[in-house]
């Protein structure tokens, strides 16, 4: 009998332990989300189509190949972007060494003048190639820079989500409050709402399409809407490939000026 009681107690204890696993702590969720969103695989490659539609319905588009290499999950990353379209920026390459703490280093190569230029980059909130996405939106804002709280658990597009509020630890030019809708199953953000310091709704990110690619759930189509300008940017990822075996050497001036044909052809 005593044996049975202790066995039951142990079982109960295990069940009790299981509860915190589902009711996760907000910071832990945001960390997992960040890793799922920005650190899939050790490296990644995609052709990106970007369409910017303004309030009058005028469209502008950009097409580029993007390479990413992670130093470690959640750690520093290296990015390489090679522009295909439009023709005034075609063949320009762009490289970022992203530092989780500290300023990123950025270089641009303009082939028509054979110019390698290091760009001063202390503003992560500036627009990425004129779109509604900022540099930070493209490469991710570390979860450690905000305080997170779970506001509620609800449903979005038929999926169970955590609704998490994030407030920057240090005053930030980009936003004062962010509300993320994180898919409980995949940890990917389905929607993000950004508010400014007057708590006005300023922009909205939406994951439109999620596909499983080489075992990694990937947001293959997302949008960012600028509420005030009434502009929206669509980003579509094509020809995605993970763990292709990129090396650090790819993210040097040698390849900035001699784009790696095997990835961008």
């Amino acid at each position: 009998m005593q044996k049975l009681t202790s066995l039951l107690l142990t079982a109960l204890f295990i069940v009790a332990l299981g509860i915190p696993v589902t009711a996760q702590d907000a910071t832990e969720i945001m960390k997992k989300s960040h890793l799922a969103y920005y650190y899939a695989g050790d490296d990644g490659l995609a052709t990106v189509n970007m369409t910017i539609i303004d309030k009058k319905g005028r469209e502008r588009s950009r097409e580029f190949v993007m390479l990413r290499l992670d130093e470690s999950d959640g750690g520093n990353q290296k990015y390489y972007t090679y522009f295909l379209k439009p023709s005034d920026v075609s063949r320009i390459s762009f490289m970022v060494h992203k530092k989780v703490d500290g300023n990123d280093a950025r270089w641009i190569y303009i082939p028509s003048v054979d110019l390698v230029k290091q760009i001063s980059a202390d503003d992560k909130n500036s627009s990425f190639v004129g779109s509604d996405f900022s540099y930070e939106d493209v490469s991710g804002r570390p979860w450690t820079e905000d305080n997170h709280t779970i506001k509620s658990e609800s449903e979005l597009d038929g999926k169970a989500v955590w609704v998490i509020e994030s407030i920057p630890k240090k005053k930030d030019k980009g936003f004062a409050r962010k509300v993320s809708y994180i898919d409980k199953e995949t940890f990917l953000p389905l929607k993000e709402e950004y508010y400014n310091k007057k708590d006005k709704f300023i922009k909205e990110m939406r994951s439109v399409e999620i596909k499983e690619i080489e075992g990694f759930l990937t947001i293959t189509h997302r949008t960012m809407k600028d509420i005030k300008k009434n502009r929206i940017t669509h980003v579509r990822f094509e020809s995605i490939d993970y763990n292709v075996g990129m090396t650090d050497e790819l993210f040097t001036e040698r390849y900035l000026t001699n784009p790696p044909a095997q990835y961008i052809k």
């Binding site: 439009p86 023709s87 005034d88 300023n103 280093a105 003048v113 054979d114 290091q118 001699n258």
Partner: protein, 415 residues
């Protein structure tokens, strides 16, 4: 020579096409029209610039490398009689030898060093004619027929550029832009322009430029050596009674990296005037030491600014003073040049406003480049701009162009 270049272009295109491989074409169609602000200019043409340009680019990625060509056709209506011109801006093959050597051979644009529109160790060909007329910034760099070899290893990289035939700068010759003629001591038109003799096309007259680079923490350091000629004809051949390109060696170094939320660069070079080693030849330039410091940072969202300070220190200055003809302009021993660039992006980067100012407190002259560009669509861009020169003396670098103030309008359709 020009036929060879066209042949290269056609070869690249046909080779690529016949190999049933993919050749990508793109380019632009552009109209550029400029007007003078000074009526007293002695030049011959009515307009500084009035041209339609068609640029065609062809690119092919092969298994072993890449072929690229950029060909410009220009209909030039600035003169009394319209002319049609073409130029192969670039036409090269790029390939890899082993794992650590990259080769780029053919007609190409070359650029190195750290300065923003000012150059010390970059002794590659420039086109100041285009620069002052309102053509796109890409035209400041003139092509050279050269072989460029890069050797990369974990310690650093070595780049050697060999230009078999000396390629000079393209300078205002009085057709569209008037300039100062030291012989007549006045600002003149093309009628008193004397074409300088190029060095004989011999092996020993070829140009060699080398660079050795490596990363030092957050900075990149490079050492340079150039052997060739001054790119401007600043010497004078007394027997031929013509300007010449004096022999030049340059030894220099640069350092560039991120600092204080911006980018800092330092550059220095020793200009060794090989035809005037002692500084006592009045017809040849004295050697000099050149230094520059620059800093750029983003000041506000979509606003970037930089400043540069350059000093050109002439060696054997006392001999220079003795040699000078009594009527000549006397430059300072240390010539200072200050520059600043401001770039503002507006309307989600559809509008770019740009200001670039050069000012020399020693020569008391200046040059301003002001422009505004609007991207109407991804394909269509309209640019308006101005080039303004001023100086106390008409013999200085920018002062000589004081009658060439101009405004221009440029409309580009990219495809």
């Amino acid at each position: 020579m020009r036929h060879i270049l066209l042949y290269i272009f056609v070869t690249i295109v046909t080779l690529a096409t016949s190999a049933r491989t993919e050749v990508e074409f793109d380019g632009f169609l552009q109209g550029l029209f400029g007007a003078r602000l000074d009526q007293a200019n002695p030049v011959m043409t009515e307009f500084p610039v009035s041209e339609s340009r068609f640029q065609l680019r062809a690119q092919h990625w092969g298994d072993r490398g890449q072929a690229f060509a950029r060909l410009d056709f220009v209909y030039d209506g600035a003169g009394e009689v319209p002319t049609t011109e073409w130029e192969l801006r670039e036409g090269y093959f790029k390939f890899r030898l082993g794992n650590s050597i990259d080769v780029k051979a053919g007609r190409q644009i070359l650029n190195w060093g750290t300065g923003d529109l000012i150059f010390i160790n970059d002794v590659f060909s420039k086109d100041y004619k285009s620069f002052f007329l309102g053509r796109e910034d890409q035209y400041l760099k003139a092509p050279q027929n050269a072989i460029r070899i890069g050797y990369y290893n974990p310690i650093g990289e070595l780049t050697v550029v060999w230009t078999p035939r000396f390629t000079p700068n393209r300078l205002p010759d009085g057709t569209r832009l008037s300039f100062f003629n030291p012989m007549t001591q006045s600002i003149v038109s093309n009628s008193s322009y004397a074409e300088a003799n190029l060095p004989d096309p011999k092996f020993e007259n070829s140009e060699v430029a080398t660079r050795l680079s490596r990363r030092i923490g957050n900075f990149k350091g490079s050492a340079y050596f150039y052997k060739g000629f001054y790119k401007n004809p600043i010497g004078f051949d007394q027997t031929a009674m013509l300007p010449v390109y004096p022999r030049l060696n340059v030894y220099g170094a640069t350092l560039r990296g991120a600092l204080l939320g911006g980018v800092l660069w330092l550059e220095g070079g020793y200009f060794d005037s090989r035809d005037d080693l002692d500084g006592n030849d009045p017809f040849m330039p004295n050697s000099s030491i050149n230094g520059m410091i620059g800093f750029e940072r983003q000041i506000a969202t979509n606003l970037t600014a930089n400043i540069q300070w350059q000093v050109d220190y002439m060696l054997d200055y006392d001999l220079y003073l003795v040699e000078l003809s009594p009527t000549a302009y006397i430059r300072d021993e240390a010539k200072h040049l200050l520059t600043t660039r401001w770039t503002k992006l507006l309307n989600s980067e559809l509008i770019t406003l740009s200001f670039f100012g050069f000012y020399s407190p020693s020569d008391e002259d200046m040059y301003l480049r002001i422009s505004g560009a609007y991207k109407y669509t991804d394909e269509i861009e309209l640019t308006v701009g101005a080039n303004v020169f001023d100086g106390k003396n008409q013999a200085t670098d920018f002062g000589q162009f004081m009658l060439n103030d101009n405004i221009y309008m440029r409309l580009t359709y990219g495809f």
